[in-house]
Symmetry: D3
Subunit: 252 residues, 6 copies
């Protein structure tokens, strides 16, 4: 089987590909989180996994590790909040330690460069900490490791935003379950999107603070922070192309 996906390889193939230590290992990190009534719970896993696979195929010197499925607790302002049924999240320390161990295992195989493709904003600091601990622990052992950490949406240009949101962009902050993620899912997993269930909501506005426990009334009942109605597979393709090219360009 010709694949960039580590889990689909047998170990001898994997060893051959990695024994020179010059493959970059892509680790997609997602979450199980509600994305509105029109979409499955796993876009944050599927999107970085898809991007990772395409990046690896294009770059030629990368492999994709099995994704981290469960991510850090959804926050109201970025993911609707951790109180929605179906939003299934782990604590920061659990995520950090689990990811750290996974990365360390790949280091033990001889790999030295990693690209964490994050699909869930709230994961950022846990991934940052896992990466930092990995680098420090390895350095103490005389091993030089490099970890790139990125969120795929940071590779989307203003030009693309203008095309995706011809009526004006309401901002990254409210893109949870909106046009952006829905468009990508329509492109890569249309079977997991049911636009007939999509609910039109005004872009969310929030007070300039957070509160714990979260206040469900801050979020639209549908769970998305903006309307997904104008999502299309074409927009998804446009976004994905740019993200994939961008990552390859910068880190290939």
């Amino acid at each position: 089987m010709n694949t960039v996906s580590i889990e689909k390889m047998d170990w001898v193939t994997y060893r051959e590909l990695t024994e020179k230590g010059n493959r970059k290992i892509i680790l997609p990190v997602g979450a199980i989180e509600q994305h509105g009534p029109h979409m499955s719970l796993n876009p944050d896993v599927l999107i970085p996994s898809y991007i990772g696979e395409k990046v690896a195929e294009k770059a030629g010197n990368m492999l994709v590790a099995p994704a981290i499925t469960y991510g850090y607790k959804s926050q109201v302002k970025s993911g609707g909040g951790n109180f929605f049924p179906g939003t299934t999240c782990v604590s920061g320390s659990s995520l950090e330690n689990y990811v750290f161990d996974v990365l360390r295992a790949y280091v033990n195989h001889g790999n030295r460069e990693f690209i964490l493709i994050n699909g869930h904003f709230e994961n950022s600091m846990s991934l940052c900490e896992a990466a930092d601990k990995l680098v420090n622990q390895c350095r103490a052992e005389g091993i030089t490791v490099k970890v790139y950490l990125l969120s795929y949406w940071d590779f989307i240009s203003e030009e693309t935003i203008a095309k995706v949101f011809p009526d004006g962009f309401t901002g990254w902050a409210v893109e949870h379950g909106g046009v952006l993620e829905t468009s990508i899912m329509l492109k890569i997993h249309p079977e997991l999107v049911d636009m007939s269930k999509a609910v039109d909501v005004a872009p969310a506005t929030f007070p300039p603070y957070d509160v714990f426990p979260a206040d469900p009334s801050w979020v639209a009942p549908s769970g998305t922070l903006s309307s997904p109605l104008k999502a299309t597979a074409e927009k998804g393709e446009l976004i994905l192309d740019e993200c994939i090219s961008g990552i390859v360009h910068h880190l290939g």
Copy 2:
């Protein structure tokens, strides 16, 4: 989409299915681990996921959560050892805490019964600890939770073993990457098995102790603990049917 797979549902559907608290949540727990040169690294994830899905479909009162992908460190006598390239494992505390958090999140959604389907022997004690902590923490909060923990192979009868190993069964201890797992994979993911690469090995024998660091010479170079050569999809189907029926029978 009509599915038992939680991650493929939208959250409103999930809420409807779980709001009475009478769904059992199946959590498959696997590992990324070498299974010989003839098979991918993910049988321990794919097999319990497949079984979980079939059990849930048959039982009618269960849902399947996204699997835990990375498991506890492979041991020489049960999985060949943690030193094989491709075998990518996490520590006991990381696995325990990650699984604990995932289960706790499902409890927070209102679910009260869980079935952990383990696909990787070495996970057992970490899952046991996660389950025990969950039950105790919930009890302290006045929540009654029940966790069933099983390894799918414990549902295989001697009759089936006799059929699968007509020339004599060399024992559970050496079934890593052998006829049993290979047969199941031939049934459910033939594209991830390449029997032309399968290596014939005598059933492994070990001294009556373990040693750390592991001694690679204890294991056949191919990584399996017995020969996969006589694996067939038919045997896989036989085994799966029995496991699936058995789990439904006991826990449905």
Copy 3:
């Protein structure tokens, strides 16, 4: 002594003020982090402490706890990076657990509402986790606790930004050690700012990913992400007034 500062009170006074459980406890959380050659290492501590005190005085129903001094690891894109001499940071778990314990102690005194005023962007997720754990642990014990978490700069309006940056705002992302923080420090601690040492730097630009270990060449040698040259105490006052009023307005 008439004060809102908890640490300056004797315990009997503190008890009298808090025994009805209707005081909100403000906890400033900062960091020891370089802010350019023109400023001390502690703006992230002093600013939220100052704001906290003024908010408490104005609101009348709040007390200010001693600040958390050392914060989470400085990141290149928000604080210049953790490699600068003087930048003295703790891990996420240490910060989270330390803050959690402090909050829990205040709960044990009978307090039920908390306002975390964050002065260091990188602290956000650790504070979020501490707050979430506190709320959950207390709830399990039948205690209802509410934690507000804010970063003071989120209370600055576009109008104020327009006044503070008459030549155009280069964005929040590069405000580390720039006009905003320097202006505030010129207002509240002029003795800790030496504008003669201020270095003019162009607003930092970064690639759309992070890298570990951090690459020092991404940051100007002075350590700030934009130029502090146009900072004035008047601008500082303007900003502070708005933050203080805003917090009182929302949470008083």
Copy 4:
């Protein structure tokens, strides 16, 4: 005092014996766990301690460390379950960390080889993790350490089983508090066994899964998993002789 027991030595004697770094340190690890109404709570501690002492005396190049007394939580299928009064167990992380620290202290004295003699099945994975962490931490510091991990019953041959169970062996799985452990205790600590209180029970049978919280009805009211009635000191001696010789043979 001429002894292999470290705790009975003065430190100067211990230093003389270990300063070449060529002594193997035996660490017995047990548990406080019910073993039926006819036996004390400490067989899992006393048996590996006794074996350790005899092995050390016979091998000549080993010393015995004070035993770890409290072990991992008793499981229903192997130890009757953690709900019996008297069964007094610790969590996996506590056991792992405590054992790790003890081993690390012996490494700091200059010792490089360890033999963990386990007397309580449930300890296995915690000991495995402690050993693995020790080896890795030491390796990172340039110290080569070797840890052997064994459960004494794995050294019992089929021949001995045939002699001990002339009427047929009902299997290792149900040997908790049965003929095997009782016979050994009758040999080494007859004062802690009262055969007049021994209860005859049929060998336990269990469903092919575990459940949390444990279901006490799965276990005989006496707490043993098989009948201890046919235990004798002679059988105990036979078993011990084989275990002791076997360990010396393999690891001496």
Copy 5:
């Protein structure tokens, strides 16, 4: 067997004794630590265990749990330091968590009062933390638990000191391995003391600070902090009698 020692009881006997929840459970906590060339490494375990047993016998309403053997790191000023061969110590968190779990297990059996008899000064704060966590966790679950924490030497009166040290007492601070502990061991375990190896040393004097790593030159080469030469079994008996009576008097 008529005993107060929990580990020597069968579980049915233990249940009968504890099922009313009115037994106080004594937990001796010690250390493996050098006590000079004239004494074994385990006085800190044996002394509190002996005292515990005698207290329980005298009080009539107490039982003695198996001792915690390995204690917190020996400090130079109280135990000679953690660098002596044979001094085998664990970290604070490991001790705290291990003791916590043990106490929790006894609570789960229905016990509500505990007496921790400490034999190793350095354990104090870890035991304090374990006790505090236990009390808090249980209170959160509606269980009222009481933990007494004592070091046996705190029950020795000035009168006894005057008798034991007729030539003047050089202070508690230097009693490590001196007349006090040696006398007790001569009384309870004379076979573990060899007075012919006892080394006369002047009472240790230390600078008013500690240093890490420890400076071995601060301690006499023999490892004791004062001279054991005048130790006698009679003095040991005197001391023990007072400690035992005192503990029964206060906590019986």
Copy 6:
């Protein structure tokens, strides 16, 4: 600004002062704890901070880091107990890890010697553990670090005690909130002492054990363990002078 206080420096100045690695870094560690109705909650922070600053100024080769504000749980016999409103304490592990991280950050800047000035007795073991872990971790990386740990009161001579307590010293054990701390605060922060609120109490006497939960009746209602009435700023000056000189003498 000419200062020894790290937090008041800009990072370039700090770098210049520390780049040779020959500065000793003083870290004051305190607590927020009631000290009677006549005094603020922060003497344990302010006193070691003041001493640290004076020591650094006098020694010339030291810098003072921002203090650790919140310390380990107040104990009845040394600080009145953790149940007083205003006494705001953290757990041992939180303190240990937080201090460890802070020290590690200073090591990363190139510093190699540290002086921990403790102002709160209960912190001792957590600081000891943090120092020990730091030294060991650094040694494993080939970095030689030295940590001095002191409590300032250990530098007070009997002569000074005789002057401060002309009517007889009632012992260190009961000095919480008494003449000693009050005198120092009258000297360095008279605005935080109100002698008109000082309560005369007899020196506390305690049973020879501790109990958890603490028994408030063991402590005087005012919270001090002895009477502060005879405190004067002159006594404070005398004490401080001796502590400062002593520390410089020993560690300068």
